[in-house]
């Protein structure tokens, strides 16, 4: 059962049957810009980028993004940069996989962000969404719709953080502006 998250809403990643999640995937999908009829190569492509920032006690210790696809500890993996988007039919165009059991013990929060690398605001992007999937069975845990998201080029989607022995996801949905995750750091820090 998919939950459509609202800003600030938290869902626990403890499973209903008591077991906790071991692997989750943050998927990002959007519809590619329509082809130009003539000189199609000059289509103004839309490049959205998904990133994950690992925090330990409000200090960022590692980042997984298109230039660093695997966190040093191997627990967070980016499946690769997509520069143009997809069909906009709900499939993931970029994904970040998190192996929660292998996240280093000092890392207590992982923040997922989306940036528009090519500078289009979310108003100009069609069918953009971001979702969290239980990687072990493919079930969608939460979904966010980005389009019509206003005059912003970035959004801080959600954070997955330790609570007790397990993990909880909180939807953040904070709009921001920036080309890559570095530009978002000032916006992220108050949200931790």
């Amino acid at each position: 059962m998919t939950v459509n998250l609202a800003k600030g809403q938290a869902i626990s990643l403890q499973k209903n049957d008591g077991g906790s999640l071991t692997a989750v995937r943050m998927g990002l999908g959007w519809k590619a810009a329509p082809r130009r009829g003539l000189f199609g190569s000059r289509t103004r492509e839309i490049d959205l980028d998904a990133s994950a920032v690992l925090f330990a006690d409000k200090q960022s210790v590692d980042v997984v993004f298109f230039r660093h696809l695997v966190s040093d500890d191997g627990s967070v993996r980016h499946t690769g940069d997509n520069l143009v988007g997809g069909a906009g039919q709900g499939g993931d165009d970029e994904a970040v996989l998190v192996d929660l059991a292998r996240v280093p013990v000092h890392v207590d929060q992982i923040v997922f962000t989306v940036n528009s690398f090519t500078g289009q605001t979310f108003q100009e992007v069609q069918n953009a969404f971001c979702r969290l999937v239980d990687e072990t069975n493919g079930q969608e845990l939460a979904r966010y719709t980005l389009d019509g998201g206003g005059n912003f080029t970035a959004q801080i989607m959600a954070k997955v953080h330790r609570v007790g022995g397990g993990w909880t996801m909180t939807a953040l949905g904070a709009p921001a502006n920036g080309r890559t995750f570095q530009d978002l750091m000032p916006t992220i820090l108050p949200l931790l």
Binding site: V70, D72, D73, S75, P104, H106
Partner: protein, 678 residues
């Protein structure tokens, strides 16, 4: 002149004694039925098939094969026979494909007894059919003709025979398939598909950018990167293109060699159809499935199994598994280290804060704060260690099953596999140079595997060993240790290549390495040397330089077949001890040339040297040292992994003290060479 027929087309036959050649990509059954002038089959007696292969004027093979020759003598056919139908069917009991759509289009040729082509027909457009009437030979006004039929039957042989008007077609079809199954059971099975050869010969890049953080200008102590499976894609295809047409150096004889069929020592079979499949893509048959772990008890990680990785052969799977363990250990250690670093820095910050707060200077309050900070630190470090120990336990269990399963090329010298050593038939994918470990991960050792053929030269550093104090013992002993490591490595390479495919040359100008070289020299497996004195150095270097020149010229000129016929096609390894002793300027230049250009044409370098000895050359030799992979005769942490850049401690693969395994293996190498006449 062969007539290429299309479906339905006929062609007159000028001869009555014919051969019908059938070639298909897979084993097929060939049979023939005889019919009268109405096209009605002459009963079960009029069918030539593997169970009853001979009829008057006609003989078919007794078993399924990819290539068939049927002998036909039309003059010997009874007068009542007006039509001979040649059938093909897929063997149903062999577990192969069950539809012709899944195999290459069969080709049928009608030739005279001397092999001159009369007509040919490629049966195309088949899909779900598992039996087909390929061609028919028929009488027309006292002359024989051939017609391309190509009529397939999805119902298989039984449907085909029913259509020919044969009674009890089903029983007959079953009988034919039974006979074929018995024939197959007797036949020698086809060799398993070769692992991806293209991959194997692909030269890897130099170390990854960033994996070499210490830089290399500083010299011998710089950390060097290790390249692994992930680092090879980049220059692979280009390198492949360059080395493809060389007669042999980068490949052992007998392997598919891209374009140079004429140069293949094993020779391609003549007379067969041209194989249009990509030589580097083994698509014909999937490899046997990889061993998988048995299901785990709930809540427990699955017990590890050797070969639990992807790959076309066990060799490749173990290689990938070892590299997977290497990466996992690097990453787990990174997680542990970063957690501990974080705990340290947090405690420091908290202690600083406690100290700077004037309220804490009085009374026991400061101590309490300090204690709390230390407890927090200890808790986090304990948690990190627990997670790390969990990972280590899993990797250790995996190592415990993988190590015993390794083939000789990957195994330690104390592995029992070396005691049953036999000369191999093909080059392994990689070779073990030694072991790698990190201080936290003791006693877990990861085999350090590098791909073959070697992509860069090796340098065993005979410089002073920090652990040995005595100045005198230092120099002599460390040089001897380095030479022992070099001999163990050269012997390993000799042993894991097929006999005669790897030649070892030794330059030992002053004879200083004689003690260590004794096993190699004693077994008589050296291609040349140990060369002594300046003259010996010059002679060996000139020979190898000439070889590099020749192969390179042929390669660049695209004239691989212009090489002298006597040229040895084996890979060559040059072991240089005591550099630069006995080297003049010309010899140094030749050595650098071999180091730069040799690996691409199968000439490799193994230096045993102390860089200080060559300091007189100044920066001139820096590129040489940089191009070599530095190894040490004693444990030393100078190798970086390609993911995180940890400094790994390298230990060379050495023969255990007192073991005779090296002598035995070398004796077996020498014996196999004599047997193979190489």
């Amino acid at each position: 002149m062969t007539a290429e027929l299309v479906r339905g087309q006929n062609h007159p036959l000028s001869q009555v004694r014919l051969e019908i050649r059938i070639s298909a990509g897979r084993p097929v059954v060939a049979a023939a039925t005889l019919s009268d002038h109405n096209g009605k089959a002459q009963g079960t007696d009029g069918v030539a098939h593997p169970g009853a292969p001979v009829l008057p004027g006609l003989e078919v093979p007794r078993q399924a094969a990819a290539e068939h020759r049927l002998a036909v003598d039309l003059a010997a056919m009874p007068e009542t026979v007006h039509r001979v139908n040649v059938l093909l069917a897929l063997p149903t009991r062999a577990g192969g494909p069950t539809r012709f759509g899944a195999v290459a289009a069969p080709f049928v040729a009608v030739t005279g007894l001397d092999g001159t082509g009369i007509a040919g027909y490629t049966i195309t457009g088949l899909d779900a059919e598992s039996a087909v009437v390929a061609i028919e030979l028929y009488r027309r006004q006292d002359a024989w003709k051939v017609r391309a039929v190509g009529q397939g039957y999805a119902g298989g042989l039984a449907a085909l025979l029913t259509d020919q008007g044969l009674p009890q077609a089903q029983q007959l079809a079953d009988g034919i398939q039974d006979a074929v199954a018995q024939g197959l059971a007797r036949a020698v099975p086809a060799p398993p598909p070769r692992p991806a050869d293209a991959d194997r010969a692909r030269p890897a890049t130099a170390s990854l950018p960033g994996a070499d953080p210490a830089g290399q200008g500083a010299g011998g102590s710089a950390t060097q990167g290790i390249t692994g499976p992930g680092a090879q894609g980049a220059t692979g295809p280009a390198g492949q293109g360059t080395v493809g047409p060389v007669p042999a150096p980068p490949y052992p004889p007998g392997e598919p060699q891209g374009t140079s069929g004429t140069q293949s020592p094993a020779g391609t079979p003549t007379g067969g159809p041209i194989d249009y499949r990509h030589p580097g893509r083994a698509t014909s048959a999937p490899p046997p499935p990889a061993p998988t772990a048995p299901p785990a008890a709930p809540g427990q990680p699955a017990p590890p199994v050797a070969g639990d990785a992807t790959g076309w052969s066990m060799d490749e799977r173990l290689y990938n598994q070892v590299w997977g363990m290497f990466e996992d250990l690097a990453r787990s250690t990174a997680a542990y280290r970063s957690a501990v670093d974080f705990a340290d820095s947090r405690m420091e910050k908290e202690l600083d804060q406690a100290l700077s707060d004037p309220r804490n200077r009085i009374g026991g309050q400061g101590d309490a704060v300090r204690e709390a900070a230390q407890d927090k630190h200890a808790l986090l470090v304990d948690q990190a260690r627990a997670a790390y120990d969990r990972d280590l336990a899993q990797l250790t269990a995996e190592s415990d099953v993988v190590e015993p399963a390794l083939p000789p090329a990957y195994a330690r010298w104390d592995n029992p596999v070396w005691h049953g050593y036999r000369a191999p038939m093909e080059m392994p994918m990689a070779v073990r140079l030694g072991d790698l470990h990190l201080p936290e991960s003791e006693p877990l050792r990861i085999p350090m595997l590098v791909r073959l053929p070697l992509e860069r030269g090796l340098w065993i550093d005979s410089g002073p060993v920090p652990s040995l104090d005595d100045e005198y013992a230092d120099s002599t002993e460390s040089r001897h240790l380095a030479m022992v490591a070099a001999v163990a490595l050269a012997s390993r390479l000799l042993a894991v290549y097929p006999p005669g495919d790897f030649g070892v040359h030794v330059i030992d100008p002053a004879g200083a390495g004689a003690r260590a070289l004794a096993p190699l020299a004693g077994a008589g497996v050296l291609a040349s040397g140990p060369a002594a004195g300046a003259a010996g150095v010059a002679e060996v270097l000139s020979r190898l330089t000439e070889r590099v020149d020749l192969v390179q010229m042929a390669l660049r000129g695209g004239a691989a077949d212009a090489l002298p016929p006597g040229l040895d096609t084996a890979q060559q390894l040059l072991v240089v001890n005591d550099f630069p002793h006995g080297f003049d300027d010309r010899a140094v230049t030749q050595l650098r040339y071999i180091a730069d250009e040799g690996p691409a044409v199968g000439v490799h370098l193994l230096m045993v040297a102390d860089r200080e000895d060559a300091s007189a050359y100044g920066p001139l030799l820096d590129p040489l040292w940089r191009s070599l992979l530095r190894l040490t005769p004693v444990p030393d942490d100078h190798l970086a992994d390609p993911w995180i850049g940890h400094a790994w401690t390298f230990e060379p693969a050495l023969v255990p003290a007192g073991s005779q395994v090296l002598e035995r293996v070398l004796a077996e190498v020498a014996r196999a060479r004599r047997e193979w006449n190489r």
